[in-house]
Subunit: 254 residues, 2 copies
Amino acid sequence: MTASDKIWTAALIVIGDEILSGRTQDRNIAQVASWLQLQGIRLNEVRVVPDDLDAIGGAVNALRQSHDYLFTTGGIGPTHDDITVDAVARALGVEVVIHPEARDMLAAYYASKPGGLNEARLRMARVPDGAQLIKNRISGAPGIRHGNIFLMAGVPNITAQMLEGLTGQLEGGRPLISETIGCWAQESEIADILRAVEDGHDDCQIGSYPFFREGRVGANFVIRSTSKEVLESAVQTLCEALGEEGFDFTPGGI
Amino acid sequence: MTASDKIWTAALIVIGDEILSGRTQDRNIAQVASWLQLQGIRLNEVRVVPDDLDAIGGAVNALRQSHDYLFTTGGIGPTHDDITVDAVARALGVEVVIHPEARDMLAAYYASKPGGLNEARLRMARVPDGAQLIKNRISGAPGIRHGNIFLMAGVPNITAQMLEGLTGQLEGGRPLISETIGCWAQESEIADILRAVEDGHDDCQIGSYPFFREGRVGANFVIRSTSKEVLESAVQTLCEALGEEGFDFTPGGI
């Protein structure tokens, strides 16, 4: 395996009672996953945990060494239920400190706002000792990087800004590329063809995603590979097989 | 602690490369979470894992004994990437068998459909030995129960039907009830009030969920308890404190 063949992996911890209660529909998993793919980093596992020091810390220590990168979303705001920094610091065995640059950023941001930089807002300058900041354009509060751990906001559009700031900064491998073939058929009619195409190509995974639409059943088949050549060959083989069997299929997906 | 005070807990494993690639926005976490709350069961952890026997099996064995119930979504269809039954059977150390009732259901369902009950479709009658079926009205393929483990579909509207079939069947505790107070203020202005109300009430958690809307910032505070009395007292205390400080707040949320 050459350096360029290394598969870079990440895990994500989504922190928040609001996700586990069903109150809030998570949008960070899909957002972080899509962004990681573009960086050539594979998201291998996600855990959703409550606002609880032990639960967060346990997940951090379970995942930070078994993946190249660990991301968290949620729990870095100003209120009493924002305990991600404390949990991560405890998991790493480091102190929580006020980051001087974060304090200055917050002071500037809140200078013209009612209440100024009060104690609750100053909580957002707390970081695990040794951390760097991840800036964002929307709110005064930065994300936090400590080694291979990245603490992001829970609010999806703030997380999007933090990811934007990290784009191109993390070492990754060749991105996974994909093509989609849609087919007006039950996936159970196509199962043997899919298996044969996948078995016939190394570095190729095919996912099958059925749907019910306009009163008809169909499925989209997503072919993924890190190799353009393998991907093209797999797509061609699949289209030929679907055509020979007389299926109604659409390159690009339905 | 009396029997009625027992906190019933569940974990959920979301299975699928399509979630980890960002291609598909998960909808099952929120759906299962909301349903569990109505059953008086607390969702304590979610893991999202790829279509991989070891990853699924590892998550099953990590979670099935530490929670009263374990749910999975995804990977019980007819295609080669549907390996949940195999992974769970291996994790439990039991054989995979054809469930005769599931086979009969599938045979009836596919009798009038092109291709009939082919080998791929018969895969959906495979269960870990000792399992019972969870019926659903939409597709011919049932969900699967094995002890405290519930294997559900990945397609959200089929999972919804399976949950409907389980409604009222699982023993739970007192459901967590909640009230929401919306407030046109930055959550960082309210942080001290929230902490004081939560500290003043046992069996009460308050979540703070900021938003940017119509060019203004605000936050919804969700107060949760299993006790109606505690909930009412916490809501009243919070509203009084917000009123005394002159904040613009809306019971019921914004």
